[in-house]
Symmetry: C2
Subunit: 248 residues, 2 copies
Amino acid sequence: MSQQRHGSTPGSGSGNVPAFPDLPEATIARLPEYLRALHNLGEGGSDTISSEGLAAAAGVNSAKLRKDLSHLGSYGTRGVGYDVALLIEQIEYVLGLDQRRAVCLVGVGNLGHALAGYDGFASRGFKIVALLDADEAKVGEVIHGLAVRHIDELAQVAVEESIAIGVIATPAGAAQAVADELVAAGVTSILNFAPCVLSVPANVDVRKVDLAIELQILSFHEHRKATLTALPGGRSATGAGNQEAVGS
Amino acid sequence: MSQQRHGSTPGSGSGNVPAFPDLPEATIARLPEYLRALHNLGEGGSDTISSEGLAAAAGVNSAKLRKDLSHLGSYGTRGVGYDVALLIEQIEYVLGLDQRRAVCLVGVGNLGHALAGYDGFASRGFKIVALLDADEAKVGEVIHGLAVRHIDELAQVAVEESIAIGVIATPAGAAQAVADELVAAGVTSILNFAPCVLSVPANVDVRKVDLAIELQILSFHEHRKATLTALPGGRSATGAGNQEAVGS
């Protein structure tokens, strides 16, 4: 079966693809990987790509990739593979990347500074439109062209700039209050870098990035490998190669 | 059943707990959350905690928490709950946090700078012992007390400092070469912030943090919620509250 082109509005797709697919969380997390691989392939001059080739470029197995893409109604063409440009369009549609989303960043300490200057946002559909901090000494500081505003302006900024996603890079103790303010201002997606659990209403999505937790997970695997090596007839190299993507 | 105290060496636990538990990846990813919640409870003066209380503090449901902890041989005591200090000890043992692990950080751009100064590492069992960069202009720069060394010294540093975990914060184009060098130097755990897929041997564990991917996943949910709202009889508030932990 060949690929189906999504219409420009939800609901105009073909009969066997729902208006908006109900995707497994793990599939959602892999779509950005496929998208990045497809952009690389497209820039390299490829018009089509086999499922095996795309799977290798994205670091997953090809059966999983085919299953993921079938959720989007994309099956490729036998003997040809997937149309790169069309698949990019389909994935960008599902991820809502056909519109640029405005991001505000709260907390411009070390990590906030790094995030404000991170090139990967702009090139992949996001624009940081506001920086906020509670520290009066930081207000007015210009970081990558944006002046830091006081956290008290958050509600006003969220409305003025149509903020879609709030990024919290404050210390843990301040994060819940910031989340409450974001939610009160109508923001329904939060990316939380503060090492704490946020309490939010059911209609708000939170993704969490905790760098120390990532290290602790690696520590577990180091410990596991050391234990295997220490056992009689140690199996030091038999652990399956683990390449876990965040959020997968 | 009451909690079993792990012996100080693998294999000395009670009969019904394997020497080293074979944990589901999702359980491994939640253990650091439990640990953080337990430390907070301990600092707050709690000696014991119910599964419901701990689950709430860690942001998971209590049935899942009990199942996770049963993998460690921890069942708490009926009517009393879990012994906070003992459970901390058990989780730290499994995560291999009873020894401090040496971390080297490769790439000291914006993000690398932020990571080098991140307090969360030291307080949770990790110590950044080396900073490396390919840029001669950065070599010798002192960041949070550590002088940046040239990437050519990586192999030597890895051995000298007994590096357990390598953190890659380079641009995507440089990441694979750095990973190859880390692996050649005997490092078997890598935390990759570069937006690319690394190819590593089967005995090497890689965790990946890609900030733009996190935003794209949130973008999907924004798109989904907007679509639900736009449907006849829009169900804007029915999406289950999604609080996805990275790596879960």
